[in-house]
Amino acid sequence: MTSSNWQFDTEKSLVESHGLKLDEFEKIVEGLGREPNLTELGIFSAMWNEHCSYKSSKYWLKKLPTSGERVIQGPGENAGVIDIDDGDVAVFKMESHNHPSFLEPYQGAATGVGGILRDVFTMGARPVANMNALRFGDPNHPKTKHLVSGVVGGIGGYGNCIGIPTVGGEVNFHPSYNGNILVNAMTVGIAKKDKIFYSAAAGIGNPVVYVGSKTGRDGIHGATMASAEFDDDSEEKKPTVQVGDPFTEKLLLEACLELMKEDAIIAIQDMGAAGLTSSSIEMASKGNVGIDINLSKVPMRAANMTAYELMLSESQERMLMVIQPNKEELARSIFKKWDLEFEIIGEVTDTKKLILHMDGEEQASIPINILVEDAPEYQRDYIVNDPSPLISFESKDFEDKDILSDLLKMISHPNLCSRKWIWEQYDHMVMADTVVRPGSDAAVVRVHGTNKGIAISTDCSPTYCRHNPYEGGKHAVVETWRNIVASGAEPIAITDCMNFGNPEKPEIMGQFVECIRGMGDACSKLNYPVISGNVSLYNETNGEGIYPTPAIGGVGLIRDLSNTMTIDLKNEGNVLCLIGESNNHLGNSHYLSIIQNKEDGGTPSINLDDELKNGKFILDCVANKLLKSVHDVGEGGVLVAIAEMCISGMQGIKIDITKDFLHGFFFGEDQARYLVEVSQNKLEQIEADASKSAVKIERIGEIGGTSISINSIGEIELSSLIDHHVKWFNEF
């Protein structure tokens, strides 16, 4: 081996160990006009990994609708912002913490919550609600229970301590997540419209300030790790997982909000993925300026940290700010009061470069535009496979007498059973503004000091997406929209968390492209734009990708909280009605998967005109005070939804219907449907209104008694339903 070969091999392995491709390395050399030093290579690696650069997804994300009359800030900032009237805004975003949560579930999930909280309060908002969307592997997989308890513990541990209620979320189990669980955390905050903070640095010579925790060696290369697949040795990556300290974050939250009341902050950015690197570069890039940093000034937790380590550490609970030079002392005193680090580590320059010094020596000098605008962007090859074919099921294939025992099996299955065990570990009432607690269609939180509320829902059906990514993408958006409508709120906007496998595989990229197309169509039709989000690719272990999972977090507004709707049945004698068309769609339903252990038959298609019409009808009924309770008909179909309403309200029901195909009617997952509780004296009015709006309505049964009874079939006691519903988690 010649010496030059040896050098090349060392260099090649160094580049690859930084998650960069050789052609990307050549691009760096070309841009700099020289080879980067190790610190610079680390910086490029942090900025150009998939997690930070969106290099495979950017082209497609641009196709999503991101504007609307209530949108104040769309994607591109720390979080999106919508107008909720009276000078108030809601600030929200959802983010993934999948890879770290699989390696170390408690800390992975906890720091996921910590990260998304910082994204929201960086914008000047006080966080008021946390939500999440979680996917685990097969319930019987040996790792699943350990991962579930770790993740739930971590989410609760962080949110409970910082004192922001975790008001809801969703949990699914499927073998496709055996090697890659998904932990998507969402935070909603409230701010004043004229007090929103952004990240663009400005003012040549202004001080760049570091606040929060000290920097340690934890989480180095976290974002690079999160941009690669797992294999059998992934356990070795555990040291890249950060450790959370919710107490320090609480202090940081209060200190930042206190400083934000003063006219002191010009720009602020949290140090999340890729820490000091991405925060300083994003601030400089957005402001079209340069930043000089003296790394010797960075508060350090460990001795002898190098420039490389300081730039790549993902230590939590840190922020970077540009402040008014004459407000230094004021800012310092606020952070001192809260016992937090406050250090001026650099200044804004006109060089348009990131220049780092340490111990008097220059450690890096990189033009910002090479790092940001010249970052690689790929239009990856993709293949769109035909959706799984639709199968039309018929009555003769099913035994009607089994309907009630099938119902018990379904509501006791991990995918449909009660999540009480989870949400009771989350403080969902702190801040004393929780109006609708977990377990309804959407969580509702009052805007403090007002009589209006924010409704929030997270959702996605990965099986639908796997078998028809276009309809599945539509469904994820529509399901949150429907949940928000069912809570009596006007849906406003969404955040998305796009979890997929390896984008270098054309069929995975095809899933991504089709999900985006479906989401875009639904968002446009429903006037329900995307205002923030996150992409998590390479969710694969040993070459096996997860099901496509575009998790959606939707937010809506209830102008008058007295119009809030919940799923619990209220009064004996009222009538339960079904809104929307039922066509016995059993394909890819929970019924097939739980009872028949089958995953086929095709994803239900969504008629967006019907969604809009039926949703509007529900909101009109709410405004006219016609409804006592509302539940969207989703996973598991009509009978599962009825059981959930009965259990929540501790009311029975006498179902009286005639259908040719009872299994199809009770367990089909046709879309655009709601169950509504109506008092006897409003029944004629609602039926007349429905007829005027060309909305299908049918009477299902009368509320009362202590059981669900179905004419000609039999009955089942509420107590038995509840026992089955809570069994799986209670025996956890």
């Binding site: 320090t248 570990q425 009432m429 909280l561």
Partner: protein, 223 residues
């Protein structure tokens, strides 16, 4: 009524209890930073819930040594009503104002849900309007413990404030959410001017909370 709410680093129910005091007692409390050293004149001092100092070391242990606690203890000894809720209860125990200990829930996990409590002694300034009440708990370390001598002493002296019970007021194992000895949810000091309780009355203080039974504790203080 002049009221005070103490704010520690990590308190997170300080605003909630301030809102409840404003709504029920009718005037907003003074928020007192833990590094302040004196509370001059007060008709009620509340030590709120949360995770003071992150609950690191032991719940309430670090907060109990904060500068302001000296003044809280002095006021308590003078007969000023002092009320600790959740983490505040833990702090009052750590500071020696109340007897017993609060250990990890018997389930070993955090519990957030509605429970029902029954006032055990309704002849105090905090409980003269109390009845069987529903309100939330939200804690990891709410399992009240005291040794048999202490239990006998607090029982003999009518120092048990509230006990977990069912809808009918029956105090039984089924209605005990966290393993507390004798279902104890709250206790008084000997002279009954200091109350510590794990349930959150401030989260059951208006109709949107789904239940407003928590109001009666604040209303008792008014009469």
């Amino acid at each position: 009524m002049k009221t005070h709410v103490i704010v520690f680093p990590g308190s997170n129910c300080d605003r909630d209890v301030a809102v409840a005091i404003q709504n029920i007692i009718g005037s907003s409390p003074e928020m007192v930073w833990h590094k302040d050293s004196t509370i001059k004149r007060s008709d009620l001092i509340v030590v709120p819930g949360g995770f003071s100092y992150g609950d690191y070391l032991r719940c309430g242990a670090m907060a109990s040594t904060s500068p302001i606690m000296k003044s809280v203890i002095e006021n308590a000894n003078k007969g000023v009503p002092v009320m600790g809720i959740c983490n505040g209860f833990q702090i009052l125990i750590e500071s020696g104002l109340l007897q017993g200990a609060l250990i990890r829930n018997s389930s070993l996990s955090f519990i957030c849900r509605d429970i029902i409590i029954k006032p055990t002694n309704t002849k105090t300034i905090f409980t003269n309007k109390s009845k069987i009440s529903k309100m939330p708990i939200a804690h990891n370390e709410g399992n009240y413990f005291a040794n048999s001598n202490q239990i006998k002493e607090i029982e003999d002296n009518d120092q048990i404030a509230f006990q977990y019970c069912d809808e009918n007021g029956d105090i039984n194992a089924h209605s005990n959410p966290n393993g507390s000895i004798n279902n104890i949810a709250g206790v008084f000091n000997k002279s009954k001017n200091v109350l510590g309780m794990m349930p959150h009355p401030e989260r059951a203080a208006e109709s949107i909370h789904g239940c407003d039974d928590g109001r009666n504790i604040f209303e008792s203080l008014l009469s």
